[in-house]
């Protein structure tokens, strides 16, 4: 086996040719992605513990799937999903404030602001003001909220806007579900969220985060003493993919980072003791293991490490516009000093994300020039190659 080309040898079916830039810049291709990917597959829309109480709801706008989805917990404890569309004249039932709107209703009902139609958390239309003025063809029993398929995995909520999904969530995730089973997502639930809109294709954003080749250059600022030792344990599972990112730490931490590391092991680049990882992750117990980097097709990157996990999601808005959401989760602090240490870790992570996102709009503009119509990928960029191949398969299916 050649060390340089080991992933090609493991996955020869992906090939080694350059990858076309057209799917990153073509409006027509993007329309096909909307129809054949985002309106067909399961999409991760959050954690079920974001809605702890009956009547808690969240509305997630998903432009690529052409809708906004209400996720609401009922008095029976169940979370259900519905399109945010009123049966009356098509207004949004919950008035949205941007990409994610949170709310709560003690009575576990939602009321359309326009004319006051009231829906239960089970989707049923409960009350219509001046109902007697509608005609006999109007039946409240047939005018509840339109449901959206919702399924849970390890506390993550996935929706599917297809009328009849082609697979269950379990079938869709396949071996990926097993790979991460048992990681303590629920107890590491102190989650920070950053978001921005990027003037780039969603795959440009995905690709920039889906390799470790950039660590030595892009993160020379925030992680100057951290060097990539490459990917390990690459595993492709249907449309999903995972690998271990290995990094070496060269020097002792800076003064403030040293104090923060003593207060809480919240930073990604601090060293830690016992393992909370499932046996499938870092199976060889490599000492340079930094985090598992994985992609739940199409648009969710999930990373897990000791005591911390984080996600990136890329929500397409147009062929050259993407909502990025980065979320960073640790165990809830119990002291003021721990909370301070988390602030330090989060700040450094935010800065690293500012470094990551810095290239994306430049990449998009440069690709749109069509001066180069191909991109060249090296062996450790296999997650990007796999992503391109899978998108192509879905679009041309």
């Amino acid at each position: 086996m050649s060390v340089e080309h080991r992933w090609l040898e493991k996955y020869p079916e992906l090939g080694s040719n350059p990858i076309s830039t057209e799917p990153y810049i073509s409006p027509d291709w993007y329309e096909k992605e909307r129809e054949k990917i985002f309106r067909k597959v399961w999409l991760c829309v959050g954690r079920v513990n974001e809605l702890p109480k009956a009547g808690d709801y969240k509305v997630k706008r998903i432009e690529a799937a052409g809708t906004s989805v209400i996720l609401i917990r009922g008095k029976d404890g169940e979370v259900r999903a519905f399109h945010n569309v009123c049966a009356h004249r098509g207004n949004t039932v919950v008035t949205e404030h941007g990409q994610e709107t949170y709310g709560k209703s003690r009575a576990a009902v939602i009321t359309c602001r326009f004319h006051g139609w009231v829906y239960g958390a089970d989707g049923a239309l409960r009350s219509v003001p001046s109902e007697q003025r509608f005609y006999s063809c109007f039946d409240k029993g047939h005018n509840g909220l339109t449901p959206v398929h919702l399924s849970l995995w390890e506390g993550f909520m996935f929706i599917n806007v297809a009328e009849t999904p082609e697979t269950t969530l379990g079938e869709f995730l396949g071996d990926y579900a097993e790979h991460f089973r048992g990681y303590p997502f629920d107890s590491l639930d102190y989650g920070f969220t950053y978001r921005t809109e990027l003037e780039c294709n969603w795959k440009v954003a995905h690709d920039a985060f889906a390799e470790a080749y950039h660590v030595d250059t892009i993160h020379a600022g925030s992680f100057p003493n951290v060097f990539s030792t490459g990917l390990q344990n690459v595993k492709l599972m249907g449309p999903h993919r995972t690998c271990a990112v290995c990094l070496t730490l060269d020097a002792k931490p800076t003064p403030v980072a040293g104090i923060a590391n003593r207060m809480a092991g919240a930073s990604l680049v601090s060293q830690r003791g016992e393992s909370m990882l499932p046996k499938t992750i870092n199976p060889d117990h490599r000492s340079d293991f930094a985090f598992e980097l994985s992609v739940i097709f199409p648009n969710t990157l999930l990373h897990v490490s000791e005591g911390i996990w984080f996600t990136h999601q890329f929500w397409p808005i147009a062929h050259n516009r993407t909502l990025w959401e980065g979320r960073y989760y640790v165990k809830a602090p119990t002291t003021n000093a721990q909370r301070w240490a988390i602030e330090h870790a989060m700040t450094l992570q935010r800065n690293a994300w500012l470094e990551d996102t810095a290239t994306m709009e430049d990449t998009q503009r440069a690709m749109q020039s069509r001066a180069k119509t191909l991109q060249h990928l090296q062996d450790d960029e296999i997650l990007i190659r796999h992503g391109a191949v899978v998108v192509d398969q879905y679009v041309n299916a």
Partner: protein, 123 residues
């Protein structure tokens, strides 16, 4: 709003009370608009006192910090915001080679950090 105050043992930090800002957004904005000299002076003044501040605030439960201790905690949090710039970015007030910071939205950014709330609370 009352003027921020410091516990007597930390009275020497009074020249830096302008860094006593309760929210992550305010601290980030202050750092972005600070001068290189301003960042360095704040860092040099706070670093030797950081462990004493953290020990002092830990006399109180998370979320239960008395008003008398808000300012030193806010300043310690500001040091977390400033430290990478002095320690890693050669003193630059901005993150070098980075995306436009003003376009990054922190969902928790307007929370007073000392309250110890869940970062997604109150949105």
């Amino acid at each position: 709003m009352t003027e921020p105050t410091l516990p007597p043992a930390f009275a020497d930090l009074a020249p830096f009370l302008d860094w006593a800002l309760p929210t992550a957004d305010e601290r980030q904005t202050k750092r972005r608009h600070a001068s290189r000299e301003g960042l360095k002076a704040f860092y040099d003044a706070l670093l030797p006192r950081l462990e004493a501040i953290l020990a002092e605030v830990d006399k109180y439960p998370l979320g239960g910090l008395p008003e008398s201790h808000h300012a030193i905690y806010d300043m310690a949090l500001a040091l977390a915001e400033v430290a990478p710039h002095v320690e890693l970015y050669g003193g630059s007030p901005g993150v070098p080679y980075a995306f436009e910071e003003g376009r990054f939205i922190a969902v928790h950014g307007a929370q007073p950090t000392w309250r110890g709330l869940h970062p997604m609370a109150g949105i």
